[in-house]
């Protein structure tokens, strides 16, 4: 009964979404207040019914209702309750329901949290969100019904959730990522609404900015969680594989990062107006493209659930409709957009332009590398794959100038920087700090790890310390210029703090990426109990191997003691698990995490023929990963900065008695 209620609630959302897509827009175009006022109510209705639907599916999973096909396919009665809960979105149908539910939540938030918006603008935004909602609800109803029943052949237990997905990282990763993906639909809706109304002044940029920041922050966290999950769960010790699905999430992030900055220029100075609109359309289109790539099953990836061509075709059609429609509207309306203000070459506008150019090139690199294999195979030109060296070769030369420019950026004023000479001592000071840190840092790392001086390690430390020092010294000088440091620091705006924190995050992430790429060491070795292996400064000893029973699997656990210069550091317990229901073998890596280094061990397969002591030999993968934590720590800083900026005074509503 409960699944039917959920299905019925989902079906009811379709007419609500259709009304939401039509009524407020019609009201805005014909000036009918009643129609415009219907928007928030419809948004609330849509959200409530989707909530009911989502809760019903969750109940089906938690109560082991194996008459529901989806539960049978992706859950098991022996699964712990929290994995039953995350199994709701650990599959194609359920994750789409989550997608739509998050879209409805954003719609609801726009309807009730933006009461200072002019009524017609809000009505148009809600309608555009309603249109997107229609597309996805139709998609679920016709190709991916999560509530489908198994009426014949009743089974007593389910197939279990893919063991790779039975993990805390997966409970968090998809919802965070979706909040980010879908959040760009709000910026998209604002851009479309502004295009429809023809009113593309700075106002639409000011309204979009907080929403875009929130979406961007969640996307940042979502991507970082995915990277962290892949790092410890796949057992390879890699944190980014340039897998097409990872790229699919990186592209909206790059577009979103460009958008966050370009919106600032448009709001404050009225420049780059049509480019900003285009970016807003692009960011959401890339989110849809990502959804298409992941959900159509055309990619070889851990994210690709069993493929179904009709689904791919549906999303492709929807994608073409959204991208084509919005670009057409843009083509018609954009020529009327005029960027008002002029600016000199040495101005913040120019720096934001450079930021956007670098990010756009990075985006083009990823887009080409991701789509090229698909295009060549669609045109029968051969089945290619693009190797990670391509992306690495392109991203390093893009990242270096970006880090250099980011250090200068806060010192450059809007329109024209006249007092630039005052900043020179601070820059020299930052360069000195960076140079010293880089020289001593690179020497210390060389001593610690492989005795040779790496020039790229020097460059990495130099540039990230430069960015960090310049950003923090700017904060100091800005606070000092007011009356006294402590009084000055209180006067700094919240969005300025957001910038400082987010840019510091970039510096930390860049440091982590650079150093872990250079100094990470890995060895695949064959070990029997008592064997030792040395990786960089650490010595790993396999002391014993034992077996144990988990809730839905049986496992083998290795006990590995790690020593540094004969001093005990940690005991690592990597596991090999055999999941009964799916009959899958899974590796659980063991990690001793630290800010400056991770010690990482994964148990490979059992090699029976090497029985020296009667216990047999195991393949073991041993890593030392310096500074790998910085990658995700920096991402947390970026997201925190992005979120903090939203609370700036100027976004606070002055007039709430508007509705």
């Amino acid at each position: 009964m409960i699944p039917e209620i959920g299905h019925f609630a989902l079906l009811l959302c379709l007419p609500i979404a259709i009304f939401l897509a039509c009524l407020p827009l019609l009201g805005a175009q014909t000036d009918r207040v009643l129609f415009m006022r219907a928007g928030p109510l419809l948004a609330l209705g849509q959200w409530l019914f989707l909530l009911v639907s989502f809760i019903c599916l969750t109940i089906a999973f938690l109560s082991d209702d194996f008459t529901v096909k989806l539960v049978t396919m992706h859950s098991n009665s022996a699964l712990p309750w929290y994995f039953k809960f995350s199994a709701v979105w650990g599959n194609h149908e359920g994750s789409l329901l989550l997608w739509v539910f998050i879209l409805a939540s954003w719609t609801l938030a726009v309807a009730f949290a933006s009461q200072s918006l002019p009524m017609d603008m809000r009505a148009r935004v809600l309608s555009v969100l309603g249109m997107i909602s229609i597309g996805f609800i139709l998609f679920i109803i016709f190709t991916s019904n999560p509530f489908e029943r198994l009426l014949l052949n009743l089974v007593s237990d389910g197939n279990d959730l893919n063991p790779l997905l039975q993990d805390i990282g997966l409970i968090m990763h998809p919802p965070m990522l979706y909040v980010g993906y879908v959040g760009f639909s709000v910026a998209f809706a604002f851009a479309i609404a502004a295009l429809i109304s023809g009113n593309l002044d700075a106002a639409w940029a000011r309204w979009s900015r907080p929403w875009t920041n929130v979406a961007w922050a969640f996307l940042t966290v979502g991507i970082a969680l995915g990277s962290w999950w892949a790092y410890y769960e796949l057992g390879w010790g890699g944190w980014w594989f340039w897998d097409p699905v990872e790229n699919a999430s990186l592209m909206p992030w790059l577009a979103g990062t460009a958008l966050v900055h370009s919106l600032a220029a448009t709001e404050k100075r009225g420049v780059f107006r049509s480019w900003t609109v285009l970016l807003a359309l692009l960011a959401f289109s890339l989110s849809l493209l990502g959804t298409f790539l992941v959900r159509s099953g055309i990619l070889v990836s851990v994210h690709a659930f069993a493929s179904d061509p009709t689904r791919g075709l549906f999303i492709l059609a929807f994608l073409v409709l959204v991208v084509g429609g919005s670009l057409l509207l843009y083509a018609i309306k954009a020529p009327a957009i005029r960027s008002a203000a002029k600016f000199s070459l040495l101005s913040r506008e120019t720096f934001l332009l450079l930021n956007n150019i670098i990010l756009a090139i990075a985006l083009a690199v990823v887009l080409l590398g991701t789509l090229f294999p698909l295009i060549s195979s669609a045109l029968d030109l051969g089945s290619y794959s693009v190797g990670p060296p391509y992306f690495n070769a392109m991203f390093v030369p893009l990242a270096l100038p970006m880090l250099v420019l980011m250090g200068f950026a806060p010192f450059i004023n809007w329109k024209r920087s006249t007092k630039i000479i005052q900043a020179v001592p601070i820059w020299l000071c930052s360069v000195a700090i960076a140079l010293l840190t880089a020289i001593f840092g690179a020497l210390a790392l060389a001593k610690q790890y492989d005795q040779s001086f790496h020039f790229m390690a020097f460059v990495t430390i130099l540039l990230s310390t430069w960015l960090l020092a310049a950003t923090l010294l700017h904060l100091w000088s800005k606070a000092k210029n007011q009356q006294g440091f402590s009084a000055g620091i209180k006067k700094l705006s919240i969005s300025y703090w957001g910038m400082v924190i987010a840019h510091s995050g970039i510096a930390i992430t860049a440091l982590g990426i650079g150093l872990t790429s250079i100094y990470a060491q890995q060895k695949d070795v064959r070990m029997v109990v008592g064997d030792e292996v040395s990786v960089s400064a650490y010595r790993y000893q396999l002391t014993s191997i034992d077996t144990f029973e988990g809730p839905n699997y049986s496992g083998t656990r290795g006990n590995i003691s790690v020593y540094k210069n004969d001093a005990f550091v940690a005991t690592l317990q990597p596991e090999k698990r055999f999941y009964y229901a799916a009959r899958n073998v899974m590796t659980e890596a063991a990690i001793d995490a630290g800010l400056t280094r991770d010690l990482y061990v994964a148990l490979g397969e059992y090699l029976e023929e090497g029985a020296d002591s009667g216990e047999g030999a195991w393949a073991v993968r041993v890593h030392v990963k310096p500074f790998v934590r910085c990658i995700w720590l920096g991402a947390i800083f970026m997201a925190a900065g992005g979120l903090l900026a939203v609370f700036d005074k100027r976004y606070r509503q002055r007039d709430t008695a508007n509705v």
């Binding site: 493929s307 051969g382 089945s383 693009v386 190797g387 799916a582 490979g604 090699l607 090497g610």
Partner: protein, 144 residues
């Protein structure tokens, strides 16, 4: 020249130069890192280049996986049910790697026709088959 126009010209020039340099670099990097996929049949027919990084995919033949003694080097046969290629890999095979299941290996074909893999991928769950392997096996007799 009018200052505003001059400034616009400089900005356009920066964009054009930047975009051209980027395009050239991107094209070059892409060209060097494309790995073409070959079915075992095409490799046996001598269509695959020797000494270049390529990918090969198909089913792992039953009973073909052997480990060389006292090392982490494994050998197995990848088949598309018409031709076979011997793949050698040193390291830890993925969890889902089993005989009679699909796999895709990236590596280099040596002059003796042995495929030295540097990466071996397997399917991620029971129902999933890499699209390239599925295409390679299409229209081939299923029994062996």
């Amino acid at each position: 020249m009018h200052p505003a126009r001059k400034q616009r010209l400089i900005i356009v020039a920066i964009i054009v130069v930047g975009a051209s340099v980027a395009t050239a670099l991107i094209g070059n990097a892409l060209k060097q890192n494309l790995n073409l996929f070959y079915e075992p049949t095409r490799i046996v027919n001598g269509e695959a280049p020797v000494g270049r990084k390529i990918r090969v995919g198909g089913m792992v033949k039953e009973g073909s996986l052997v480990r060389l003694p006292d090392s982490l080097t494994a050998q197995f046969i990848v088949t598309d049910y018409e031709a076979e290629v011997i793949v050698e890999y040193t390291g830890i095979l993925p969890d889902m790697f089993t005989e009679q299941a699909g796999t895709v290996a990236t590596g280099i074909l040596n002059e003796d026709g042995l495929f030295i893999a540097e990466q071996v991928l397997a399917k991620h769950d029971e129902t999933y088959m890499p699209p390239e392997v599925a295409a390679a096996l299409k229209d081939k007799p299923k029994s062996y």
